[in-house]
């Protein structure tokens, strides 16, 4: 949305709002199912993946780990994780420069019952906008 002189200023304000991102700390308690501990979401991305195909990233060269799906009712949804979040850290481990499999492994360590994620979330406005397009 470019700024056109004469148009109401609110458009610009909206644009400004859209560019900020929220950082969230999310604590997920793993759920035990049988002999596995699950978190209830899916991830995509990684330094060994093609970033151009990430639907959630703003910058199409961003090779970070993104949440692609959250199981409804699962531990991740309960904890407040949302689809499209970019996972920055997991229990202190960096997730911005990892391969896909390394990311998966850091989330699925068997001796950890709780994972604390630091995620970045585009603001609500843009999420809605994205979904409407």
């Amino acid at each position: 949305m470019s700024f056109i002189p004469g148009q109401p200023v609110t458009a610009v304000v909206l644009h400004f709002q859209l560019s900020c991102a929220l950082q969230q700390r999310i604590e997920i308690c793993k759920l035990r199912q049988g002999e596995h501990l699950i978190l209830g979401f899916s991830i995509g991305g990684g330094i060994d993946q093609d970033p151009g195909q990430n639907p959630f990233s703003e910058d199409k060269s961003d090779k970070g780990i993104y949440v692609t799906r959250v199981t409804p009712g699962g531990p991740a949804e309960v904890a407040g994780l949302m689809m499209g979040d970019k996972v920055m850290q997991v229990n202190g481990w960096d997730m911005t420069m990892v391969t896909h499999d390394q990311a998966r492994k850091r989330l699925t360590k068997k001796n950890e019952d709780i994972v604390r994620l630091l995620v970045t979330r585009k603001s609500l406005e843009q999420a809605v906008r994205h979904s409407m397009m």
Binding site: Q33, G34, E35, H36, I38, L39, G40, F41, S42, I43, G44, G45, G46, D48, Q49, D50, G52, Q53, N54, P55, T68, R69, V70, T71, P72, G73, M83, T99, H100, D101, Q102, A103, R104, K105, L107, T108, H130, S131, M133
Partner: protein, 655 residues
């Protein structure tokens, strides 16, 4: 005209081959060794079979397997022939030595043989970043396998398809060489062959080849032309110079080339994983190039026979220390680094604990003592240091000959230990592979994935029918001694479909990007009523795992589904479909609630088919709730093409 010359050459080569075989048979006959002759004959039969299969098969991976068998047979034949010649030479030398007046050196002590096992081969790869994303849609794949050779014994590993998504090449086979001497040289050779999917090998004429090359694009066409080039079709592609010894008709088909090799010996033996350097032949320009990091990791273990077998046993009288009266009658067994003394001979079979054990190791000192007032025979003194204290046992056998034999056994044991060095410190474990070890292998092999053609009826029984038919097809392949790893799945009993044990990993198992993740994903199908949703669940890359219970839950991708998916994907973006998991999109999702686990892009569309609340229907309707942008039509067509050529665009994992 050139074809005539070819035919002539082939005739001549055949005659030469026949002459060679006659020569070989003569040698074998004179050596009175029918063993190697039988092996050579067996390999020749296998080779013929492989040639026929290669000529007959149409599928790329069948061709790759057959070509691998062919190469292995050739190398084995050459090894046996060299062995025969060596034996003949040795025999001749011996005769010469006997005839000549000066006696050769007396028979030196020979060390005992042992078992050498190599397992968990892992070869790391080093893909450049650009490699990942160039040639999108054209996944450059290579077929790779290893040959391991000790003397005349050659074993091959399974074939692994390598592409950009693999970080290490892992060979799960454990290979055991049963009779290796301590000076063994284990040669590890890695062969690779490019496995492009875009074209099929066949005896196409040059004109057609050039036509194809112009239509396929430069790089693919160049590779095709190289493969078609008869000059490149050398009968022996392992670089051996003995072309005349083993001529072959030119075989059209995938050709393996030697990519890397290394030689391991006793100094590399250790009871844990070690990394060794590889010598790489070839460079980036070759079609069969795979970017190797330059190392190979493996576990090389050895079990000398002196550690595992009873080298000597018999009745003995043992005296402790200097006490003259305390002779004990025991039954002694010399095995490994110990002399086990049992009360009676029967105890050995009964697995009863020995009365006591005298250790015989590198630090033990043994000497024969001449005089003994009570016994006319010689006795043997064994001294050990147990924690700073010197302990002496004196042994005495019934007769002089027995004593002599025991001394001989001890000397032999010492000699073996000095030859086998670190292998005699402790017994290394060697796991013998079961004949058809059911390894759970990912679908990277690709064959089942691409070959499944199922009609749109989506009936699960169709799937099992097709799989059963495939099994029959593969009987032929299993006769050649190879069978694709996923075959083993049918030997597994279908247990609970949802609990999948993790693969029995070795600690250094390579991380397979994104694929094994689906194991974890499978188990998260927790509360879904699996039995009621036959068509929704599909865990993309783990489909061979899932096929172990082909009854209801998992459905491999179908070719017709492919076409629909690609249009679907055009509507979505870059291959990731999420919509099925948007609960509000359609109420008909209720019977299959969000427990469905769309693993890869494809599963999503099967879930969307369940969206339309008719289980059989396949309609890929992404109507409502699609949260994602629809790119322009130009990008759509590009994406369709990309999707068709490489379905695995952007991996997702369930955690």
């Amino acid at each position: 005209m050139p074809m005539n010359r070819y035919a002539d050459m082939e005739d001549k080569l055949r005659i030469l081959e026949d002459l060679n075989m006659m020569y070989i048979r003569q040698i074998a006959l004179s050596l009175q060794d029918s063993n190697i002759q039988k092996k050579i004959d067996h390999e020749i039969r296998m080779r013929d079979g492989a040639c026929k299969l290669l000529a007959a098969c149409s599928q790329r991976d069948q061709a790759l397997e057959a070509s691998k068998s062919l190469l292995t047979c050739n190398i084995r034949i050459m090894a046996y022939m060299s062995e025969l010649q060596r034996m003949k030479e040795a025999q001749v030398m011996q005769r010469v030595a006997l005839r000549s007046s000066d006696a050769g050196p007396t028979d030196d002590r020979l060390p005992c043989k042992g078992k050498v096992a190599i397992s968990d081969l892992r070869i790391p790869l080093m893909w450049k970043d650009t490699e990942y994303f160039k040639n999108k849609g054209e996944l450059h794949r290579c077929a790779v396998f290893c040959l391991l050779q000790v003397g005349a014994e050659i074993h091959d590993t399974d074939m692994v398809i390598v592409d950009r998504t693999l970080t290490d090449i892992c060979f799960d086979n454990t290979i055991v060489f049963s009779e290796a001497s301590p000076g063994f040289e284990l040669r590890v050779e890695m062969y690779s062959c490019c496995s492009e999917e875009d074209y099929s090998t066949g005896s196409t004429s040059r004109k057609l080849a050039s036509k194809l090359s112009s239509s396929l694009g430069r790089s693919a066409g160049k590779k095709l032309r190289v493969a078609m080039d008869p000059g490149a079709c050398s009968p022996i592609s392992n670089g051996g110079g003995a072309t005349l010894l083993l001529p072959l008709p030119t075989v059209v088909g995938p050709k393996y080339h030697l990519l890397a090799h290394t030689t391991l010996s006793l100094s590399h033996v250790q009871d844990s994983f070690r990394t060794h350097d590889l010598s790489i032949s070839g460079n980036e320009e070759c079609s069969h190039w795979v970017p190797l990091y330059g190392n190979v990791c493996c576990r090389l273990a050895a079990q000398p026979h002196c550690m595992t077998q009873q080298m000597m046993s018999g009745c003995l009288k043992v005296k402790f220390g200097g006490d003259p009266q305390s002779w004990t009658n025991v039954y002694g067994v010399l095995k490994g680094t110990n002399l086990f003394c049992y009360h009676r001979q029967e105890d050995v079979e009964a697995n009863i604990e020995p009365a006591f054990t005298i250790s015989i190791n590198k630090k033990t000192r043994i000497r024969a003592s001449e005089k003994d007032r009570h016994n006319k025979a010689q006795s043997i003194c064994i001294s050990n240091h147990y924690g700073g204290e010197e302990v002496t046992h004196t042994l005495s056998a019934d007769s002089r000959e027995d004593t002599h034999r025991w001394m001989e056994a001890f000397w032999q044991q010492f000699y073996d230990m000095s030859q086998w060095k670190q292998c005699c410190d402790d017994l290394m474990k060697i796991e013998l592979p079961s004949p058809r070890k059911p390894t759970l292998v990912t679908s990277k092999q690709g064959s089942l994935y691409h070959e499944m053609v199922i009609d749109t009826s989506d009936d699960i029984s169709t799937v099992t029918d097709i799989l059963a038919r495939r099994m029959e097809e593969l009987e032929l392949r299993s006769q050649l001694g190879t069978s694709p790893p996923w075959m083993s799945l049918f030997e597994e009993s279908p247990g609970c479909p949802r609990t999948h044990n993790r693969l029995p990993h070795s600690p250094l198992r390579c991380p397979r990007p994104g694929l094994l993740s689906s194991e974890a994903s499978l188990t998260s199908d927790s509360d879904s009523p699996c039995s009621t949703s036959p068509c929704s669940r599909y865990s993309g890359w783990a489909e061979p795992l899932s096929l172990s219970s082909p009854s209801s839950h998992f459905r491999p991708r179908t070719l017709s589904l492919d076409a629909k998916l690609s249009t679907l994907r055009g509507r979505g973006y870059g291959g990731v479909l999420q919509c099925s998991c948007q609960p509000p999109s359609s109420s008909s999702l209720a019977p299959i609630p969000a427990q469905c686990v769309p693993q890869a892009t494809l599963s999503c569309s099967s879930s969307t088919s369940s969206n339309s609340s008719s289980e059989g229907s396949h309609s890929p309707e992404l109507s409502d709730g699609t949260p994602f942008s629809r790119p322009s039509s130009a990008r759509q067509s590009l994406r369709n093409l990309r999707a068709k050529l490489d379905p695995r665009n952007w991996l997702q994992s369930q955690v």
